[in-house]
């Protein structure tokens, strides 16, 4: 699959090659003094040719110079995008290796092409471009998509691990390499301590998020997830701060006489830079949240405000030599909560997608540049240095992981197991960050820069490919005790049930954390921050309006699919059932198993499943909608019947597919009050077209089955005299009929009824309004039901 994709690249590359070859020929023919940078100057060719008759207008001109840089950059990005498409088309591949591997490969390919054609690559990467344009989007995306609640719950451990881990790694690797360099045999005597330390700091810039996608199915626990995420987030900032500091040191003290005062000053500076950056970020975050409060009428600029303020925080921090990365991270984290509530739905989506796009473009460019550097002549291979670098990277990471976690486990309520620590150790994959820092080492200060770059490349390739590919199986091996591949259908069903059950009970338990701090912050937040930063008169039905939109679309889809699937229904199957349960053949079992696996609902993931390169697809929303509709209908039915959730003898109802529960015996009389409340709602509301249409279509498919079950149903209903819903049903039946007919003719806008509900309930979570809406929905839903029942005699003629 991926190979096919690569084949299609060849037209592009042929074009590039042709142009390149032609231009190189042209330039080699002409005098090279005309162009000092050895780039192509087809213009010169034309100029030379037409230098005698210089009034002639050339009919066909070629000016590659003008567009070279943007053209090639665009081609690279396009190439990477096509490769990603191919990568995802082959479904098993994303689970096997992280996407960064793919990007590295694409980069290497582009590098090979450029090397092969002797084409000079455009100068995409130099220090200012990297730090000003390529790095901020990557960091912003990491900060924005971080789940805040788990982050702050584990913030102590995360800070302890990220900060100290980075420091230990950097200093440890640097010092060990320095001692290696002292050994005369390796020929590294001219690499002094500072350079080694600098190398250590840049090589310890890990990018573990890249591997998260690989072991997502193993459903690692939330704390582990957060540790990896938090480390990725803070690690970039810390290594860049260290890097800049050490470069400053190198510039100042070329003769290695560093006094203790300088070291102390360095430490103090480290802390100030870090904290100052964070402070800047928070301030800018609040400012931008405040501004989004006023953008109701011009929602098109909301994404712009978000991006501009984040970028501004970065630049402002950089002006004062504070850590811009930490600033932009803090800005994103602070801003996210309030901005998400203020901005419109479309702006929210735009922000998310745009952020992903920008960061993905940046990272692609860096990886391609890395590929270009790989395939080139500017390498210096020193066996000792490279092997020891690799070894020390692993050793020091292991040391830092196990030591730091051992200490932090003493203070944690839920300590990390050895398995978790192994996973954290193994996820130390280096990525674009370390390459960039290595590439941007100033050659004047680092005469052996090429060796550093080579060593960095080797480490990146090794960790990204070998660790990236094997971490999936490792996690699965550590996690699963018995891999019973061929599970019986029973087991599969029950396992899924238990997963759902567990997720549900976890939701009942809620999130446990350090209550005091969190509660205090929540109180402060409610009392002051939200008043200032969140829009006034935000209709509670912003959640409701989102729900509306989902509902409408879903209902329409369901109608359409309902109509299609009813044609597949067949009667004879019923006769078979009556004879007895027939034994199913193994092929049937297989197909049943497949149906089950592919169609069962996924368990709700409590943590935001973060994928660095992609936004979550919409399947879980669709699933949530289906479940919600089902629940509504049940609630609706139960309200009408006068009891909460029916138990007992199941009866054949039309819309079994849409009910969570069967019908059953009444509960205690306490339910009657509830029924009374809702009966008013029932009669007042004319109807909800969409849901009903879907019900009608479903009825079509189920009608034959239920035809014979109608009669027992009616008798059952007659038997239930215990509730007052009896009278309600009679009166409402006529209304429902009328309502339905009206509705069937004229589908009205779906949600006018809901608007009234919008203001009800003032719970902070806002979910109460959702439940109200649901009960409102269930009120509407009943129309459809009764309609069906009354129409069943007509349909029975089939």
């Amino acid at each position: 699959m991926a190979l096919q994709m690569f084949v299609t690249f060849s037209p592009w590359n042929c074009l590039l090659l042709l142009v390149a070859l032609e231009c190189s020929e042209a330039s080699s023919d002409l005098n090279d003094s005309a162009n000092s940078t050895a780039q192509y100057a087809p213009n010169a060719w034309f100029a030379a040719a037409s230098s005698e008759p210089d009034e002639r207008i050339s009919v066909f001109e070629l000016d590659y110079d003008y567009v070279q840089i943007p053209y090639e950059v665009t081609l690279w990005i396009l190439l990477a995008s096509l490769a990603k498409i191919g990568f995802h088309l082959y479904r098993r591949l994303p689970g096997l290796m992280p996407e960064s591997c793919l990007l590295i490969l694409v980069g290497a390919l582009v590098g090979t092409i450029i090397f092969g054609t002797d084409h000079k690559s455009p100068p995409v990467m130099d220090s200012s471009i990297y730090f000003l344009y390529l790095l901020p989007p990557i960091v912003l995306e990491g900060g924005y998509f971080m789940p805040t609640r788990p982050f702050f719950e584990n913030i102590g451990s995360i800070l302890w691990w990220a900060v100290l881990g980075a420091l230990i790694n950097a200093l440890g690797i640097g010092l060990s390499l320095y001692f290696i360099c002292q050994v005369k045999a390796f020929g590294l005597g001219d690499v002094n301590l500072l350079q080694n330390l600098l190398f250590g700091s840049l090589i310890s810039a890990v990018d573990p998020v890249a591997v998260l996608a690989v072991f997502e199915e193993a459903r690692v626990n939330e704390q582990l997830y957060m540790m990896i995420f938090g480390e990725a987030l803070l690690n970039d900032g810390i290594t860049v701060v260290l890097y800049n500091m050490l470069i400053a040191f190198t510039k100042m003290h070329k003769f290695e006489d560093i006094e203790p005062v300088d070291i102390l000053a360095g430490c103090a500076r480290f802390i100030i830079v870090g904290l100052g950056g964070i402070l800047f970020g928070i301030v800018f975050g609040f400012i931008s949240a405040f501004i989004t409060r006023f953008t109701q009428n011009i929602s098109a600029i909301e994404p712009l405000i978000v991006f501009m303020f984040s970028y501004l925080s970065y630049l402002a921090a950089e002006t004062l030599y504070l850590s811009g990365i930490l600033a932009i991270t803090a800005c994103a984290v602070t801003m996210k909560k309030y901005v998400e509530e203020n901005v419109s739905q479309t702006s929210y989506t735009t922000i998310k997608y745009f952020m992903k796009m920008l960061s993905s473009v940046s990272e692609t460019l860096i990886f391609i540049f890395m590929g270009v550097s790989t395939v080139g002549k500017n390498h210096e291979w020193n066996w000792a240095f490279i092997c020891f670098t690799l070894a020390f990277c692993q050793i020091w990471r292991a040391i830092s992981v196990f030591a730091l976690f051992y200490i932090s486990n003493q203070f944690r309520t839920f300590p990390f197991s050895i398995k978790d620590q192994c996973i954290i150790f193994y996820s130390g994959v280096r990525g674009a960050g370390s390459f960039s820092l290595a590439f941007l080492l100033p050659l004047s200060l680092f005469p052996r820069k090429k060796m550093f770059v080579t060593a960095t490349l080797v480490v990146i390739y090794f960790t990204a490919f070998i660790q990236g590919i094997t971490i999936g199986p490792l996690v699965r091996y550590l996690d699963v005790k018995k891999t019973n591949k061929k599970e019986s259908i029973n087991e599969e069903l029950h396992i899924r049930l238990m997963d759902h059950l567990k997720a549900g009970i976890e939701d009942v338990c809620g999130h446990w954390s350090h209550y005091q701090v969190r509660d205090k912050f929540k109180k402060f937040d409610h009392r002051y921050l939200r008043k200032i930063l969140i829009r006034k008169n935000l209709p509670k039905s912003s959640i409701v309006s989102l729900y509306k939109k989902l509902e409408m679309k879903q209902a329409i889809e369901m109608v359409e699919t309902g109509i299609l699937s009813s044609t597949a229904f067949s009667i004879p199957h019923q006769a078979q059932r009556i004879q007895g349960i027939k034994r199913l053949s193994p092929e049937d079992v297989e197909s049943i198993r497949d149906i089950l696996t592919s169609n069962m609902y996924q368990v709700r993931q409590r943590t935001l499943s973060y994928n660095k390169y992609n936004l979550k697809p919409q399947t879980s929303e669709k699933q949530a909608k289906e479940i919600l509709i089902r629940r509504q209908n049940t609630l609706r039915e139960s309200m009408r019947k006068g009891h909460s959730l029916p138990w007992g003898k199941p009866a054949g109802t039309k819309n079994i597919r849409y009910l969570s529960f069967p019908y059953g015996n009444p509960q205690s009389a306490g339910r009657d009050t509830r029924a009374a409340e809702f009966s008013d709602d029932d009669s007042s509301d004319p109807g909800s077209p969409s849901i009903m249409f879907s019900a009608l279509s479903r009825i079509g498919s189920l009608q034959k089955q239920e035809a014979q079950e109608i009669i027992p149903m009616k008798s059952l209903h007659r038997g239930r005299k215990a509730f007052n819903s009896g009278y309600q049903r009679n009166t409402s039946q006529e209304e429902y009929l009328g309502g339905v007919r009206r509705v069937a003719l004229r589908p009205k806008p779906l949600f006018h009824a809901v608007d009234e509900e919008g203001e009800s309930g003032g719970e902070s979570e806002g979910k109460a309004s959702l439940v109200e809406v649901q009960s409102r929905w269930t009120a509407d839903r009943g129309h459809g039901r009764d309609h069906n029942r009354s129409h069943s005699p007509l349909l029975q003629k089939k």
């Binding site: 549900g504 009970i505 149906i595 959730l645």
Partner: protein
């Protein structure tokens, strides 16, 4: 945990602890959660309170889970009842199995009790058996709408068939347990934070 006045004393804390096996810290947290869910400060939870948990609304088994908190048709659940249900999900530790006093009743988080809890989610009419119909209902809940009714019935048939040993067309608790003997129920139905 602090000396805040809002940490009310839990009534019968000792008996609850003995029955469920929770630690004092976990019990305090659960009490805090109970009070957070009990919006009108009634002292007990009704179905509405549990339905306010938004995440349960999108859980296919949400309604059944809520219902399991109200055994025997009651309308309210007090704190001991709340904790009793959650005790099923306490992780099984080695000390539980070691100090097994044969005279004491089985702890709530034993494998058998966990399975019994799951069994009750299926067996709505509490007749001790999962009939084919009940299996079909659970299947309907857990599967998307693309699967046709016919396929679902096949699956339900097959499921009951596999587990049913005495041929009565329904799955009793013993048969249910047997069909899951290879599964690590203790780990699947344990929530780490409920120590």
């Amino acid at each position: 945990m602090g000396s805040r006045s809002s940490h009310a004393v839990i009534p019968d804390a000792d008996s609850i602890r003995r029955e469920t096996g929770f630690s004092q810290a976990s019990l305090l947290r659960l009490h805090h959660r109970f009070r957070a869910l009990d919006r009108n400060k009634k002292g007990y939870l009704s179905r509405m309170d549990l339905q306010q948990i938004g995440a349960l609304a999108v859980n296919p088994l949400g309604d059944r889970i809520i219902e399991s908190f109200f055994p025997d048709g009651s309308q309210q659940v007090d704190f001991p009842g709340f904790v009793r249900v959650l005790a099923h999900f306490r992780p099984v530790e080695d000390e539980d199995t070691e100090t097994q006093d044969p005279k004491k009743p089985e702890p709530l988080n034993s494998r058998r009790n966990k399975l019994h809890y799951a069994f009750q989610l299926y067996d709505l009419d509490r007749d001790g058996k999962i009939s084919r119909h009940e299996m079909l209902q659970v299947l309907r809940l857990m599967v998307g709408v693309e699967v046709t009714e016919e396929q679902l019935e096949n699956i339900a048939d097959r499921t009951v068939q596999e587990a049913d040993e005495d041929g009565d067309g329904a799955v009793s608790f013993v048969e249910f347990t047997k069909s899951l003997e290879k599964m690590d129920v203790e780990q699947k139905m344990s929530i780490r934070i409920l120590k």
